[in-house]
Amino acid sequence: MQHGKYRFIVGFLIAPLALYAIFVIWPFIQSIYYSFTDWTGLSSDFKMVGFDNYKKMFEDDIFWKSLQHSVLFVLLLPLVTLALALFLAFMINVGGRQRKGATIAGVRGSGFYKIAYFFPQVLSIAIVALLFQFAYNPESGAINAALSAVGLDNVQPLWLGDPDLALWCVMAVLIWSTVGFFVVLFSAGMASIPKDYYEAALLDGADRFTTFFRITLPLLWDTVQAGWIYMGILALGAEAFAVVQIMTVGPGGGGPDYSTTVLPLYVYQTAFRDAQAGYATTIGVALLVVTLSFAAVVTKLGRRERLEF
């Protein structure tokens, strides 16, 4: 039965595969084709220019800057978000003090925390970005107001107006808005880990630290890996674009001195503001390469024997 299995599976998937080919694969091929043209995006008249766009890209400082930011996003965002979410989920589900009747329990009020953490997930990313734009307002925003309220009148950072801080501000918003989802996801994963493992570990005198690294994390690995991929998509795709565009750049271009430009934003600006759709697809191809390498790394690192329980 092993023979012809792919063909068998493809037979079932013919309709989705066809859609996938038309709406995903074909546009990819087209994009790669357009990356060798000088298409403006505003008229149907364009010609092949060979590797000119690629040459231009390699000499383009802004491209390298945005690549750097995107790589930073894709490395840091999943790491910080997932670590934070794991910690919070562990505290909510397992990390509490022992109480009567239950071997393991979350910290007090964990039900409330679970809802509170999930709350940002309900808001659209555009609204989150707008809200934080108000909070980061250095002149009358909530954060600087809080700083002066506790007597830090001299510490009034410019936040989104400071090239050294802006990128971190944007990242913090993305973490804030996504961590709750993973808390809930990991909580669900933790709930399916049999309690006896914890009981056994506790009998052997394991502390919270050990239980987490020896029991929770290994049994949760599949979920963490899925989260990793999801965060990668977010860091390279629409969410990163949206927060950067709304919070720092705006429609006409902005943000302090290119300090927050990310690849998807640069693609958008080149195509729709500068009317250089051909060059934009070239940057798009670069984005594709980054994404592919991320996917390769994740699947490689994530390969690991699965524990059945």
């Binding site: 299995k5 709406f23 995903v24 546009p27 505003l42 149907s44 107006g161 902005g254 697809t281 994740v298």
Partner: protein
């Protein structure tokens, strides 16, 4: 069938399948494919409608029975003014079907496919954040030459050509290379230093004509806890609205023309240095509102209408845009940029004013004469007054404000134009080289300087570098002042 757990080397297991499809899915999500979806096929439009008979009432020869299609940018000026003009078009051509009207905020998303497909509408207000790049449209021969409209008799006075009824600079702005006029800018914007007359009166001050007076006034305001200036810190390309005419006042219009022409060392002119250093002085002396570099345009305008800062570089749309937060007794006014002293080349009053709301008639429009005829109607005194009273902005029609009640800001803008007389400058960087003007000169240059992160000398060097790169870049179309 496939095994249900992942054994190694044994074909495709369930988990492998899931893992692989996850990997493939991951590739596709941050996709670049949205670009390619605007397929660039050239299907070509239908035939154009036949040209109508020209007459005194119909000098452009619009077809009297043909459909006219109009797309308006639905932004700060709304769409009502256009609907009113279209009604007048239908009155003039009773046999034509009702004008097909559409209004959108997303000009580019709506119209790009139609340009690529060769079936654009007849008249477009190509404005807003999604404005289509004019240079590219002109370069790719997508627009109709509006010279016929410019030379047609004007609506109110058949003895005068349309071009002679327009405000200074409007026709030139519509030209790119040579004589053809590609764009008809309908609104007229006055740029400058905007302030509250009342705030100045509270300080017993008048608008300062020299920079020393400006600094003295800022010092006086600072003692009362009011900042001298604020600006759109995240969008610092608002600073040129008062900085560029200041450069022209100090060194003459030629300096700005050289900058527009991307001439080598244009930014190294002493007038540029003087003006930059004057503005940098505002930062150094602490006259800029705390936190300004982190504010966007709305936030800075709000701080300004609340009275936290005296001056803001802006355009005449600010009266409409900041109306919600502006106190009733604010008494908005605009000042021409303060100069250095009497050795300046141009007198005080030199101001930047130029067209806004660019209207275009596509090359492949079916009814181009109709589109131009509608523009001719819009440039009549009646339509112009209608626009001004509806949206608090001047139009390209010179005069045309008699007998209507002007708001304080508009009244002050008209007075500023009167005072400027011939000395209206019109720097073209922002419509010729959008990226250079906004992102490079504005954000990366002036924004950094006004936040104190670059000195004027460093800023000039950086901006000159950007300008040189733009001059060298063959993928950008280059323009020159005639």
């Amino acid at each position: 069938m496939g095994s249900t757990s992942a054994h190694s080397n044994e074909g495709l297991g369930r988990r492998d399948l899931i893992k692989r499809s996850a990997a493939v899915g991951l590739i596709t999500v941050p996709t670049m494919s949205f670009l390619a979806s605007c397929a660039s096929s050239d299907s070509g439009g239908d035939e154009k409608v036949e040209k109508g008979k020209t007459s005194a009432k119909n000098p452009l020869g619009a077809n009297e029975t043909a459909q006219l299609e109009v797309v308006i940018f639905n932004g700060g000026f709304g769409e009502q003014y256009a609907i009113d003009a279209e009604k007048r078009y239908n009155t003039a051509f009773p046999k034509a079907p009702k004008v097909k009207h559409a209004a959108t905020e997303k000009i580019q998303s709506t119209l790009q496919p139609r340009f690529n497909g060769g079936t654009p509408p007849d008249l477009i207000d190509n404005s807003g954040a999604e404005q289509m790049d004019m240079g590219v449209l002109v370069g790719k021969k997508q627009l109709t030459d509006l010279t016929a409209l410019m030379d047609a008799p004007s609506y109110d006075d058949p003895a005068k050509k349309v071009r002679d009824t327009l405000r200074p600079g409007i026709v030139e702005m519509g030209q790119f290379d040579g004589d053809p006029v590609w764009i008809m800018y309908y609104a007229y914007t006055v740029y400058g230093v905007w302030y509250s007359q009342k705030a100045l009166e509270n300080l017993d001050a008048t608008y300062p004509e020299t920079w020393d007076d400006m600094l003295a006034l800022c010092a006086k305001a600072k003692k009362k806890g009011i900042a001298g200036w604020t600006y759109a810190g995240k969008h610092p390309y608002y600073i040129p609205f008062s900085l560029y005419p200041m450069i022209a006042k100090i060194g003459g219009v030629e300096v700005l023309d050289k900058i527009d022409n991307l001439e080598p060392n244009a930014w190294k002119d002493p007038a540029v240095k003087t003006a930059f250093e004057a503005y940098y002085e505002l930062y150094k002396k602490g006259y800029i509102l705390q936190g300004t570099p982190g504010l966007d345009h709305i936030q800075s305008q709000t701080a300004w209408t609340k009275g936290k800062a005296l001056f803001i570089p802006n355009g005449s749309w600010v009266e409409n845009e900041a109306a919600k937060t502006m106190p009733a007794d604010f008494n908005l006014a605009v000042g021409a940029p303060s100069g250095i002293d009497s050795s300046d080349k141009l007198p005080f009053g030199t101001i930047w004013a130029s067209g806004g709301e660019p209207f275009i008639v596509p090359q492949k429009a079916k009814n181009p004469q109709g589109g131009m005829e509608l523009l001719r109607i819009m440039l009549s005194e009646e339509s112009s007054k209608n626009f001004t009273s509806q949206v608090k902005s001047l139009t390209a029609l010179n005069g045309g404000t008699d007998g209507i009640e002007l708001t304080p800001g508009l009244k002050s803008a008209v007075a500023a134009l009167d005072k400027a007389g011939e000395n209206v400058v019109n720097p073209r960087l922002q419509d010729w080289y959008v990226k250079l003007q906004k992102e490079q000169i504005g954000v990366a240059g002036l924004g950094e300087m006004m936040a104190g992160r670059l000195t004027p000398a460093e800023t000039i060097k950086k901006i000159q570098g950007y300008a040189d790169a733009a001059a060298k870049d063959q993928s950008i179309k280059h323009y020159k002042h005639q």
